[in-house]
């Protein structure tokens, strides 16, 4: 056995024993690149995912709801920051990852390409989108890569809180005036199928699944998680007094699960290709914020360079003249 094979064997053994892989440990190149891709796209999703909800901050209908929504959007920015930091432990830089997002070389979750058209959409996102994200992410708390798993523990705690708030928002609407109830139902009708698509393509078409499961980056298949989510949502929808827009949805005694209708995978593919309702808008806003903020980042860098405290020394009293 040569050195490379010994490393590989030690890695496989550690993963098999459910030990955590840490940044300085040897890892296969493909493991590293798979994680960079997945974690970066997760980070991008948090950052792009701020937009559909931020769309309602200035219009939230009560001060209490406005405060909850602001706190949530702030948390999402924080999650993006944790995840970029965790990705940087694999040797990528945040600038490089943002550049890949802005140039379309890395993706973000397809769900954020749908528009928030009414206030109830904020509740539907909390309940369904965050609910689907949690179903996907809780198993990641046991992911084989330590920094990712630890980031997910913190993120999942906050996400469950948001999910309950979203549910509670919808409940208030559902039990409110007829117009509010209709608004809630309409939002659930529009967000249900896109939320089911968040679990990714069916197992037989999922390109990275097998290897990710072997490496314990993934613990369950897309279809398993999707089924788990449907089973959780059905009684919650009943408690909300809202219906789910699927005539084929029913309990299957034999399987012990809910059967549900077919997903329109052609829509999913179109959204992934950039043809969803908001792809252009979301990426456009992100690029614009970055471009318009360039002078601010340059100023901060210039200021820091000029005022850098020498190692072990104190900041000089006399500053140099500003250089053009």
């Amino acid at each position: 056995m040569d050195a490379a094979e010994r490393y590989e064997a030690a890695f496989d053994e550690a993963v098999a024993a459910d030990e955590r892989i840490e940044p300085r440990d040897w890892m296969p190149d493909a493991y590293r690149s798979t994680l960079i891709r997945q974690m970066a796209q997760h980070a991008h999703s948090e950052i792009i995912g701020m937009q559909p909800e931020a769309n309602w901050i200035t219009r939230a209908p009560s001060l209490r709801r406005k405060a909850i929504l602001m706190a949530k959007v702030q948390d999402e920015a924080g999650h993006g920051l944790y995840l970029y930091s965790a990705t940087e432990t694999l040797g990528a830089s945040r600038d490089e990852l943002l550049d890949k997002l802005h140039s379309g070389r890395q993706r973000y979750s397809s769900i954020f390409n749908y528009p928030t058209l009414t206030w109830a959409d904020v509740g539907a996102i909390g309940w369904l989108v965050d609910g689907a994200a949690i179903t996907n992410q809780v198993p990641l708390c046991r992911c084989s890569y330590g920094p990712y798993a630890r980031a997910m523990v913190r993120i999942c705690k906050e996400e469950s809180f948001h999910q309950r708030q979203g549910y509670e928002l919808l409940l208030a609407l559902s039990r409110g005036t007829p117009a509010q109830h209709a608004m809630a139902q309409d939002a659930v009708d529009r967000w249900w199928w896109p939320s089911l698509m968040m679990f990714g393509p069916p197992d037989e078409e999922s390109a990275h699944s097998a290897r990710s499961m072997l490496w314990k980056i993934k613990r369950h298949s897309n279809d398993e998680l999707r089924q788990r989510f449907v089973d959780i949502c059905v009684p919650q929808a009943e408690a909300l007094g809202l219906t789910l827009p699927d005539p084929e949805l029913r309990w299957n005694e034999q399987r012990g699960h809910h059967d549900f209708g077919p997903i329109d995978w052609s829509e999913f593919q179109r959204v992934l290709k950039g043809e969803g309702p908001c792809n252009e808008q979301r990426l456009g806003q992100r690029r614009r914020a970055h471009e318009e903020g360039a002078w601010v980042r340059e100023a901060a860098a210039a200021h820091a360079a000029r005022h850098r405290t020498p190692r072990g020394g104190s900041r000089p009293e006399q500053r140099e003249e500003r250089t053009a």
Partner: protein, 238 residues
């Protein structure tokens, strides 16, 4: 609740509410991710203060969503549009230094706002530090950032006397507050290699006008956006 306490609670509450609303517009547009967190954090603190203050004066949602432009009592400074990041930072600097000095004094007194001010003064100290640090970075950053800060200071300077006009129910020495503000702001601007603007700190239109419900044009549009949904469903709860 005396009328003067209500007047004061509305003035201070509207300042916090309106500035929070402006900062909320930044979400998803900040120049760097850390500022998404910081600006939302400041907006959230201000909204929290607004809710306490407006609740002292009545029902927070009725006051926020059902008053018209002429009934709002906030300073003209806080309703100014965000502009570029330099504009926002300058508005934050001018307001947060004022608010910090004011809340320190209110917290030290035994008036009806002492408990609120004692709690909020730590938040406001953070807002002030955030604005001061960015003023230094931008003023003493690149030629472009320096120029943008210079323009923002010139543009907003005309709104900086209004905060020191006496407000019924706010028991502080306005002149001393103003002197302390001018000293603190001058110090930061000079450290940031910026010059203190020489224009008037109060134009006839801006002098005490926001506190009397006389606002600038962008304010009505801001309120229309803020209140639209609430007003579309009279009597609904959310």
């Amino acid at each position: 609740m005396t009328d003067s306490v209500r007047t004061a609670a509305l003035a201070l509450g509207d300042d916090a509410l309106v500035l929070s609303q402006r900062l909320g517009e930044w979400a998803g547009h900040a120049p760097v991710l850390e500022e998404e967190v910081a600006l939302a954090n400041i907006a959230l603190d201000l909204l929290g203060q607004a809710r306490v203050l407006l609740s002292l004066a009545g029902d927070e949602d009725e006051l926020a969503y059902l008053r018209e432009e002429r009934e709002f009592r906030n300073l003209q400074l806080v309703e100014q549009p965000n502009g570029d990041f330099a504009h926002t930072i300058t508005r934050q600097l001018f307001f947060s230094v004022h608010q910090h000095l004011l809340y320190e004094r209110l917290a030290a007194g035994d008036g009806p706002f002492a408990p609120l001010a004692a709690k909020a003064v730590n938040e406001v100290a953070y807002h002030r530090d955030h604005a001061e640090q960015w003023t230094l970075r931008l003023g003493d950053g690149t030629p472009e950032s320096h120029e943008r800060m210079r323009r923002a200071c010139e543009a907003l300077w005309r709104f900086t006397a209004e905060p020191f006009r006496p407000v019924e129910g706010v028991d502080v020495d306005g002149e001393a507050l103003e002197a302390a503000w001018l000293e603190a702001v001058t110090e930061v601007l000079e450290r940031a290699t910026l010059t203190v603007p020489t224009g008037p700190r109060s134009l006839s239109w801006a002098a005490g006008a926001g506190r009397q419900g006389i606002h600038t044009e962008p304010f009505g549009r801001m309120l229309a956006e803020m209140q639209h949904l609430h007003r579309s469903h009279p009597g609904a709860s959310w």
